[in-house]
Symmetry: C2
Subunit: 926 residues, 2 copies
Amino acid sequence: MAKKVAAKKPQKKASAKSAANAKNKKYTYLFGVKTDGDAKMRNLLGGKGANLAEMARIGLPVPPGFTITTEVCTYFYENGKKYPSCLDAQVKAGVQSVEKQMGKIFGDEKDPLLFSVRSGARESMPGMMDTILNLGLNDKTVEGLAAKTQNPRFAWDCYRRFIQMYGDVVMGVQARNEADVEPFHHVMEGLKSEVGARLDTDLTVDALKELVKRYKALIKQRAGKSFPQDVYEQLWGAIGAVFGSWMNERAILYRQKYNIPASWGTAVNVQTMVFGNKGETSATGVAFTRDPANGENQFYGEYLINAQGEDVVAGVRTPHKIAELSKEMPKAFKELLAIRKKLENHFKDMQDFEFTIEENKLYMLQTRNGKRTGMAAVRIAVEMNKERFMDEKTAVQKIPADSISSLLVPVFDPAAVKKAKVVAKGLAAGPGAASGEVVFTAAQAELVASRGRKSILCREETSPEDLRGMIAAEGILTSRGGVSSHAALVARQMGKVCICGASDIVMDYQKRLMTVGDYIVKEGDYISIDGTTGEIFLGEIGTAPSEVIRVLSGKMKPAKSYTYRLFETVMKWADKYRKLGIRTNADTPEQAKRAVQFGAEGIGLCRTEHMFFEGDRIDAVREMILASDLNEREKALKKLLPYQRKDFEGIFKAMEGLPVTIRLLDPPLHEFLPHESAARNALAEKMNLPPEILAERCKALEEQNPMLGHRGCRLGNSFPEITKMQARAIFEAAASLIKKGKKVKVEIMVPLVGFVQELKFQAATIGEVCEQVMKEKKVRIDYMLGTMIEVPRGALTADEIAEVAQFFSFGTNDLTQTGLGMSRDDAGSFLGRYKELDILPKNPFASIDVNGVGQLVRIGAEKGRSVRKDLKLGICGEHGGDPDSITFFNDVGLNYVSCSPPRVPVARLAAAQAALKAEAAKKSKK
Amino acid sequence: MAKKVAAKKPQKKASAKSAANAKNKKYTYLFGVKTDGDAKMRNLLGGKGANLAEMARIGLPVPPGFTITTEVCTYFYENGKKYPSCLDAQVKAGVQSVEKQMGKIFGDEKDPLLFSVRSGARESMPGMMDTILNLGLNDKTVEGLAAKTQNPRFAWDCYRRFIQMYGDVVMGVQARNEADVEPFHHVMEGLKSEVGARLDTDLTVDALKELVKRYKALIKQRAGKSFPQDVYEQLWGAIGAVFGSWMNERAILYRQKYNIPASWGTAVNVQTMVFGNKGETSATGVAFTRDPANGENQFYGEYLINAQGEDVVAGVRTPHKIAELSKEMPKAFKELLAIRKKLENHFKDMQDFEFTIEENKLYMLQTRNGKRTGMAAVRIAVEMNKERFMDEKTAVQKIPADSISSLLVPVFDPAAVKKAKVVAKGLAAGPGAASGEVVFTAAQAELVASRGRKSILCREETSPEDLRGMIAAEGILTSRGGVSSHAALVARQMGKVCICGASDIVMDYQKRLMTVGDYIVKEGDYISIDGTTGEIFLGEIGTAPSEVIRVLSGKMKPAKSYTYRLFETVMKWADKYRKLGIRTNADTPEQAKRAVQFGAEGIGLCRTEHMFFEGDRIDAVREMILASDLNEREKALKKLLPYQRKDFEGIFKAMEGLPVTIRLLDPPLHEFLPHESAARNALAEKMNLPPEILAERCKALEEQNPMLGHRGCRLGNSFPEITKMQARAIFEAAASLIKKGKKVKVEIMVPLVGFVQELKFQAATIGEVCEQVMKEKKVRIDYMLGTMIEVPRGALTADEIAEVAQFFSFGTNDLTQTGLGMSRDDAGSFLGRYKELDILPKNPFASIDVNGVGQLVRIGAEKGRSVRKDLKLGICGEHGGDPDSITFFNDVGLNYVSCSPPRVPVARLAAAQAALKAEAAKKSKK
């Protein structure tokens, strides 16, 4: 059967060219005694395959095997799930090479060679794809294994595990729906109760033989065909299942979350099996060369005696800390310490590796750069720089820019924590503090989130099926599993707060509650968890700023916080290498101050309308909007003037002479109107208008596509009196500070300009008001006038607009909406599907669409500078805080990016990384 | 005072450069014995000024004067309503030159030189701006004039008219609001009743003197200053008023309607007064060298004995037909016939001219290319070509492309007309047939139009104040005034149906009714008017197709219709010169057939969703949309398949092998849903769903900005089953025709593509279905696959998209919406203001924004062709039928434009004009 599949000709769809290429290509790479690949071949061999090859190269004990490349995966999906015709022969050759190295034969009835078959993508996707272990066992080879190992129990246990895995993964014998029991589990439990066994390990060889019989019957019944006895058929089945799992739902979801393109594909690693479950001299474990949670330079990991690798990761048994291995298996532990050193020396980074000890012999099954918390990333980079593992530039690039934000996440309010009761403790697996409603299912977590509330997802252990819930929840709490369990790995990568293995807690999904010692916590009750200490509290606890923030706001001394010093080091590095200026989007003095503490060099976007909702002023705003004529409108605007003036004074003061870009009124006016009829009636009374008239005026302001409607400078041009009021508020605020001897750097930004004339009229109005205020206040006020480039026409006619504008700020939110013809509010209905199909590998509202929207930014920048060399260019969309987008903005040569205050440190680091990347690219070109 | 104004230094705002330029510039041009200008200087001197100069050059009797250039107007508005400093001296020199030619002195108390001061823009704007006559009269010169003419009554009548005009126009003594009486009229009527005069002409010299006294008192009282006695002050006041009137409300409105940029400005013509009101040997008139209503080659016009020019145009007295002049003033008439010939020989086009006969001496006051109906434009061009006044290319360019549509406008259903009662007759002033509610005011016409109903605006006479109403109404009916009255001129230009001078009708605005003989017609009653015959009918009459359409559809023989033969000639010319292909947007076989009759060479846009609303099928559409899963959706789609197949069969059949571009489903799905709750409940019952579930599903489909939402190929990619159904319907329809031996040219168009991947997926789906259908039906089906370029990203990545697309059709409607960030449905709230401010000189949804959206089209075309040389390029937005846009599309090098069926002939002609323009531009470059 395997041959048949492999031999099938490439489908019609495949072009003649790709078919020809496919014929001559090398699709399998050996590792072991003979090694074809190395660590650099990650894209082709996947992370696991490349590093297995590399470990073999540097002499680490790797069980031999071969890697089927990611190109096969791509071919597989481009050609209707068929393989290149030459693959069959190459796989066969790979098996034969391993047979030679091991001195064993695949399918040999006396001493069978067994394989594991595992996925391995370019980027690690833990637990997302399928794995098959013990492959090569059948009714005959199992006897050979039993005889050779003199351990029939072990052999039959391996066989029943293999059938179970293969039946599930390859032959699709699975629970039919959520209510259904996992069928193999059901069969096993039935047998266990028949023979009176409590644990799996209580099953005798005969019982295991019976179990194998029943498993095979189950498969025959449910899958309609027999479990295959031909070992090559087993192998091809497993390979197909692994490639198939690249497109399973959870893998797709994972790729969506981490922006991994579907086109990368996965490799498949076929590797000689080694056994950590051959009794008390065998073990299996996972270790990190440093602590992945806090970055501390100490050996970190866990292991299980007499277990297979999946047992550790799955979190079914709670493993031991790695240090204990020094007592249980001192020789192996010593070897591991040496390997830890060798790995860091070789890979120059913290490694996360898997090992198995088979009858006292140590095998390395995998190594990779270890995932780590933001905190750990920072600490490891700073300390590895001190230890000369990496130079400053490398260290800067080693810290995912986003991870800086984890140093800034709030912790529990220390005062509140003192009063709160710790009801249980678990393993600190994802730092930070989180409070929320207890939920027990992913679905409930999503529901709670959709209602704008916070939740803590509580599970015995998590599995990839819980992914959606983990995304939706604030924090994750498990009662089983260790710091390298699924829950812990995923939570850390997401930056979620996580506590694992809180074994005092008993979950009762059925009753939707958990017991914590004497306490019963029901779904919907609040709990709080501290992922840094592992403590679990009843009730909701207020959060407090992180150490970094406490130091920045003068509430803690720098010397007292190692975290702060790490932060400071990284920020210093960032500022040393970055070219881009970093500004912030801030609408209040408080936000402005925080941003300056974070290193903002100015305000890139102050949205004046955000001030309109505060307190009573919304009434005046509404009167202004609903005015029936100029006279009424001017009356309402007069009421607003003092508010706005005060707003701007506060912001100018907070910024202490740093530039402040103020955007004039932007949103469609009806956004300010009351939508409930009660509120409308109250407003009507206040305005002394019949409610039906008010309703009519509100109705008249409704729009089909408000995003493309009467907003931005269209308002200021229709109602110059609004611009006048805002300009007056700005200039009067500036005047009052200047008179007090303070510095003020005013930049006025006219939104949504598509035609230079729009800007000209606004510029004239603003200029007039400035002249008036200067005359009235007898003070000189300098200001810059610019515009947001946020509709394609603005970018396309930037040369005309730059004749008037002294600066541009690219409003990439709206530029994305108009450039792609895609409303951010509505795109949810198809963006998921588009990511799945790889049409849009990233959410274009989170990370700029370089090929499309990016062209508009580039055109705008080039045309603008073609007529005004010193045109200041910035960007103030949400992309301003996104590292990938920042790379692009650096390449385009903008002067600055502007982002929300908490993203400022991230942007600083990302800007440095962008500059270094550009420098490297330049060098490599030369 | 005049000097003070003129001497003022240019304002700060004017750049140093423009001020310097202004110093040395020639701002006044003489005409008369000495003539500086000519007809080519239209942009500088305005149409009137340039042609006065030209007439003087070719020896026609023009009263001497000078023109102040349009550049002064531009300067005036750019410099805070100040004049260039050197203008004062130049005007003085102009006056002196005229004084010399006339042998009279301006302000001379014995024999004063008098002037008229008139506006004159590049394009004629009849009645929009201010005019002053008899300027130069004051308390002293009036006596000189009286003595010199030996006609004190004439002199004092001139003086009181001058004061009245000057007081109104220059000094602003006007009715304060609509209810107020015109104040000079009020004073005159008072005096008339005091002295018992019935008509103005009954006033004696003494009465006129008294009137002058009272007028001056009125001015003093209302304007706060005296009527100026200094003739230069009078002159500068008049010049300022004319320039000022460039920006009056009705001029702005007029420019909006006709897309005349405010930046053009008007010139001012200062010309020696001649008098048509010096008794029975004097007259004044307006004439056309050919009939401007139907184009017939016969002298056409009207005159009034003993009247000033404004009397004819204003329509206050109903003038005589020009032919009668041959009896009343045979010598002058003979001269006019000679001038008629000379004018056509010289200007090579139909002329519209004004003349005055002062004591038997003929003077020419103006000539210009005559405005004409579409019908006349066609006939004149065709006949002037036959007469060798113009060659074919010139003739093609002489016909405004839009005017072709007036040959296609419906006429009354002949059967219905026979039965209808003609209640009155007027002058046929604007051809075509119109039915509607009677309205008496512009405001009411606008109101009725806003409610989607039709109206006939009925007025004694119209004035520029009625412009808005004339735009809103279907037709115009006046009881006074001739075929060159304001109503007639404006109606013809607008292509409105118009009957003038229906003197049997008596309007009673107060009671909102009119009496027509024995009938009383009230506001809101229906009438029907035939602007080709002048007949007025009670009630509503159905309309019938025009002669051209009757011939095209075989209901009339070509030989029987001269109109058709004109149409045919022009279309032949058009097809000879045009480069662009012309297709049509058609969704039904009927539309398709009509378009082919009109010369369409294919369908450029067949909107499949338009078929979804017919009959029962909307239910299936709704089921499809509201399906909760694939299964339900496929069931509904199955019901739709036969409908769609039949639709396409019909269209393919109608097009007889011409290419048919079918666009796949495009609009957001909720557009198809019932919005009323009753309809929803009915649907819920049909679908066997609880109403609240249905309501919920409808709600879930609502979008914030549907324009940018889940639509276009986003639907087909989310629900490939929809694309499959549509593709199947198309291919099955094609197969059935091919089997019958018919030719079918299928082009499938995927809408809203921004990412090439979107198209790839759709292409694969369509390709699969085609293979299936070909296999099932055992027939070969060829088709082209293309996309609409309608979001900026599509244009910007056209090189990627053209790798898959075989053709592009620019969807310039949506490309305008996204490119400008402007929703067509919502832009109404600010587009008016934007036109006023000249930010957007034209409505970008009617005529393409060349600088912005045009760039996207150009980029898309160039990038697309860079990877696929034979990429077929078309455009199917509404711009496809707009002549200016067609010029642009011709320049970009598109293959075809596609427009609605009735616009096809217009597009053919416009395409020829575009090609000729491009040819001329190319030549002039060489």
